[in-house]
Amino acid sequence: MMKKNLIWVGLLVFTFFIAATASAQAVRGVTDTEILIGQWGPQTGPAAPWGAVARGTDLLVKMINDQGGIHGRKFKYFLRDDSYMPAKTKAIAKEFVEQIGVFAVVGGVGVATGMTARDYLMENKVPWGGPVTGVYEWIHPIQKYLFAVYPLYDDEAFNMTGYLHEKLGFKKIAMFYQNDDYGKQGVMGVERYLLKHKIKLVEKVSAEVTDRDLSTHALKLKNSGAEAVIMWTNPTGAALILGESAKIGFKPQWATSSTLSDSALMMQITRGLWGGMITSFFGELPDSNHPLMVKYREAHKKFAPQERWGVFYYAGIIFAEPFFEGVRRAGRNLTTESWVKAMETIKDFQGIGPPITYAGIKDRQGGKHVFYGKVRPDGSIERITDWIRITK
């Protein structure tokens, strides 16, 4: 009887030991052959053109899988439409973690949307690489598992204002922005620069994402006597304000952020008014001869010929490249911690986006550079600067 009991106790201890070892080794979303990753993005609704980003990441995933994956593991990619609605994003983040069990989230358009998921993902120690916005919310306070790629809007706007003032000599500068965190961080940069140089912002006009009548906005900008207007808005807002301004004969020098750098799309929806726009860019131009761009364009033809090769689309590659570089550097023994450590070793890594550096455990802002381009009347882009470091 005693011997029988001992066998049972022994089996029980052995079972506990195996289970404990297994749970210690298991990494959510990582198997011997697969890594599960997810991304949300607006495939419908007013911000839907930015949804191309998430589909662009899909192209990179397909390319990597086609080449055999990374360290013997292929990627399974889950794309979900949040329609740019924060409530949906939170639900998607929960689905990613609790139902699908992803290893990481890559990309994700939107500040308000991403903010509903940030704390939840961090509490669950889910790696998040390259949120598709350049705001402070991703890096202040430092989130251990979150690595930003997008150059900061605040710094981008600060430098853009400097470019207009110092290089082009504009003294009367106005601002048109979207009334949310994205737009407001653009305003922050513009005002910071002007305050530093004791220049007055001649007008500051905001619009809601859903606004379709911007005639009053254009009139206010015109009445301010602005020589240059910086806009921090979405594609529809940009097209509407340009149209309304043209109607009343207001023709300042327009400048805008990298979020509107898809000049092919912008030329088309503004009926040519986009010509002359000064834009900052965080990635190679669509027709660039950069070897990686050539490779990606070929993959685009092979895996996603139905997609338009535009900036928003291949931005999905830009935001995901550092994440995959981290997976490469982490090696075969991929865990959340090994990925974080690997990411922290990235210095001057450059794919088709800006140079990426994470200077140790206190720096989660990878992209610190942009360059400027001017849209020609035919819609092509003239690159007018080299990469400029905007975040010190």
């Binding site: 839907a48 006009v205 859903t210 009548d213 906005h217 009445n223 529809t236 088309q268 009926r271």
Partner: protein, 290 residues
């Protein structure tokens, strides 16, 4: 600036008025608020876009085909969805229109994708006329003219034609209208068809003034609804006046009070009107059916 704000307000108000008219036409006949009105207009505009841009169909033919599509769509919806509703209540029918709105939004997103587009239009949205120092763009000017003409036609139609009177009779007392030999089912289909056509005109004008994309009617539809409430949901002239007033009030508020709160003016008006004069400015009386 004051004059310019009025002119711009009237132009955008004309679009609100058209949408309000489209809603009022249906509401007058069936007391149903059609929340799919915006998306019905949007899909018709996408049809116009495909004809004009992809197939290079001359504008008058494209317009005619678009109207035909708008009519077929409306009759299809009325006959297949609304008429089949079991023991329909007004609320139930309104919910059906909400469902249809979502179906249309999803369909357009799937068929045409989410990217914004520019609707080819015979009138420039950049060139402008100048009257006594006031600038009015050609598209705004013609929007005003088209809207006024359309409103006049509708007004005359409802006032003086047999069909128009039959439609009004159906709204006032469906049973009595049927007893008097009016084919009320046919009247409902016809009402939806006219409303859909007016909506299509509004959709094309709004797209021509700005951009064409699936959510393009979300904001204008709400403003159209506010215009209807302001002028009176049972009054055609009320819808026209409500649209013009709302466009002007919004612009003046944005110009002189606060641009940030310009977009909420419409909702404040809805609340105010429902509290002060629920029947609207021009509706003669407010009848609640029991």
């Amino acid at each position: 600036m004051f004059g310019q704000l009025i002119v711009s307000g009237l132009a955008v108000g004309a679009c609100y008025a058209l949408l309000a008219l489209a809603m009022v036409i249906i509401y007058k006949t069936s007391e149903v608020l059609n929340f799919a009105q915006g998306e019905m207009a949007m899909i018709s505009t996408f049809i116009a876009f495909t004809l004009l841009d992809t197939y290079q169909v001359p504008f008058p033919y494209a317009l005619a085909i678009t109207f035909l599509f708008a009519i077929v769509l409306a009759i299809f919806f009325e006959m297949v969805f609304l008429r089949q509703a079991k023991d329909p209540t007004v609320l139930g029918l309104i919910i059906i229109t909400l469902g249809f709105e979502m179906v249309l939004m999803g369909f357009v997103g799937w068929k045409w994708g989410p990217d914004q587009r520019a609707l080819p239009f015979p009138v420039s949205n950049i060139e402008a006329y100048t009257f006594y120092g006031l600038i009015i763009s050609k598209i705004n000017f013609w929007t005003l003219i088209v809207s006024l003409v359309l409103m006049l036609i509708l007004f005359l139609f409802f006032r003086y034609t047999k069909l128009g009177i039959a439609m009004r009779a159906t709204q006032q007392n469906q049973l009595a209208a049927r007893v008097m030999g009016i084919r009320t089912k046919w009247i409902f289909s016809f009402t939806w068809a006219i409303s859909s056509m007016v909506g299509a005109v509004a959709g094309m004008l709004i797209a021509a003034m700005g951009v064409l994309d699936p959510p393009m009617m979300m904001d204008p539809l709400l403003k159209g609804f506010a215009s209807g409430v302001l002028g009176g949901m049972t009054s055609l002239p009320g819808a026209a006046v409500g649209g013009a007033l709302l466009g002007v009030i919004e612009n003046l508020f944005g110009g002189y009070v606060s641009l940030s709160f310009k977009s909420v003016v419409a909702f404040a008006i809805i609340v105010l009107m429902l509290c002060i004069k629920p029947s609207g400015l021009l509706a003669k009386h407010y009848v609640k059916k029991v």
